[in-house]
């Protein structure tokens, strides 16, 4: 919404009293909508966004696009191969088993990365859930999660990615990126995820930065209260 106190006159009005009226209109009371409006909107949006049962099953299985089908087929073939080899395990070379396990892990990782780039938000959320188990040891997964956290168009996907990156907050690369995001993000949902993350896993410097943002009233008012309560402060 534009600044209604602005005294500039975008429309040509020659009459002096009309000009004063125009400026006085900027002082009309501007009431805030109730929180109920947001709640009702997001409830309706969730209903509207809910895919059909078939689409949900395909999405859940990661089969909503061709890459998903190819990866699933590859996993299936590898599964048959492992089953066959396990039957013959008495004669099996241990290094061949290790190689097969590595291949399966690799395919699983590719599937997760593929899900993180999927067009459907539900599949990206599933990918984030899977990625949260791999995030400790895999920098490519960390980077893919960071992209979701900072650039995803869906606030719910962004907040899930932020949660998944929780244990990485102490690393400089992830910590700096997420704290920069906290400085600039508009969505209260994403702000909430970041604030919770800092309160849970943040170091002293990150907590100080959070307090500063609260002091400057750059967080949603409810979040400022949340920070106060969590840190046992009366006011920031």
């Amino acid at each position: 919404m534009t600044d209604h106190k602005d005294t500039s006159l975008p429309f040509e009005i020659s009459d002096a009293s009309e000009q004063k009226l125009w400026q006085a209109l900027g002082d009309l009371p501007r009431a805030e909508p109730s929180a109920d409006l947001c709640r009702r909107f997001y409830e309706q949006l969730e209903k509207a966004d809910r895919p059909s049962l078939g689409a949900r099953i395909r999405g859940w299985l990661g089969l909503s696009n061709n890459t998903g089908w190819v990866t699933a087929t590859a996993c299936l073939l590898m599964g048959f191969a492992v089953a066959q080899l396990s039957v013959e395990s008495d004669t099996m070379q241990p290094d061949r088993l290790i190689a097969l396990e590595e291949n399966i892990a690799l395919l699983n990782r590719e599937l997760v990365l593929d899900r993180l780039k999927n067009d459907a938000p539900g599949t990206r959320l599933l990918g984030i859930h899977n990625a949260s188990y791999l995030v400790q040891d895999d920098q490519e997964i960390v980077q893919a999660l960071l992209v979701r956290a900072t650039e995803d168009r869906s606030p719910s996907v962004r907040s899930a990615a932020i949660d998944a990156l929780g244990p990485q907050l102490s690393s400089a690369a992830v910590g700096d990126e997420l704290m920069n995001l906290l400085e600039s993000v508009e969505s209260p949902i994403v702000q909430l995820a970041l604030v919770d993350l800092v309160l849970r896993n943040g170091n002293q410097q990150q907590l100080d930065q959070l307090l500063r943002l609260g002091n400057e009233e750059r967080l949603h008012p409810d979040l400022i209260r949340h920070v106060n309560k969590s840190l046992g402060r009366e006011s920031i």
Partner: protein, 189 residues
């Protein structure tokens, strides 16, 4: 920071990602609410209209043609939805009476000496605005609070730029007259 444009977001909504409407809602629901509230003068009904506006955006996302801004398109839907609301609630068509809360505030204003003269003027201005026909109210509200040029304002009103210009001129004249009738004098600082 606004990384993704409104027009890109509505395209994603049209392609089936309804969650992007949440971002557009966060950007514009307060502005749409203010417009609907000034038109309906009833907070609960204004929220119902805002809800309906964004659900219409979801249903009609595929019809957005990028010939104007998303914001102008959104406020055009808000305007039409508000007019539908008035058609379905004919008793509200005459807007001069304020709601109970506003009337009680006005009485308090007139009786309490502590209230400033400036606040009284704003109260009178609100009443004068409410006395105008709907098409004059909407051009003033959208022109004053949401749009900075006649091209976008005309898109929001669904008319030609020249028509918007003339309507604004006449609306301001009529507002001035209505204010003078209520106050006894023309508006003055």
């Amino acid at each position: 920071m606004r990384a993704v444009s409104d027009e890109q977001l509505i395209e994603w909504v049209a392609n089936g990602d309804a969650s992007c409407l949440g971002t557009l809602f966060e950007r514009y629901h307060k502005g749409v609410y203010q417009f609907c509230l000034q038109m309906t003068r009833n907070p609960e009904q204004a929220e119902d209209v805002v809800q309906e506006v964004f659900m219409k955006v979801l249903r009609k996302a595929g019809t957005f043609r990028h010939q104007g801004t998303f914001k102008a398109w959104l406020f055009n839907i808000a305007r039409n939805t508000t007019l539908d609301y008035f058609r379905n609630n004919k008793r509200h068509k005459v807007l001069a009476p304020l709601d109970e809360h506003a009337e009680s505030r006005l009485v308090d204003h007139q009786s309490a000496e502590a209230v400033t003269a400036g606040a009284q003027k704003i109260e009178l201005l609100e009443r004068a605005l409410a006395m105008l026909p709907l098409n004059f109210q909407e051009v003033i509200l959208l022109g004053r609070f949401e749009f900075r040029n006649f091209e976008e304002l005309a898109q929001a009103l669904g008319c030609k730029t020249g028509t918007a210009r003339v309507r604004m001129h006449r609306a301001m004249q009529q507002l001035n007259v209505a204010y003078a009738e209520l106050n006894g004098d023309p508006f003055d600082d």
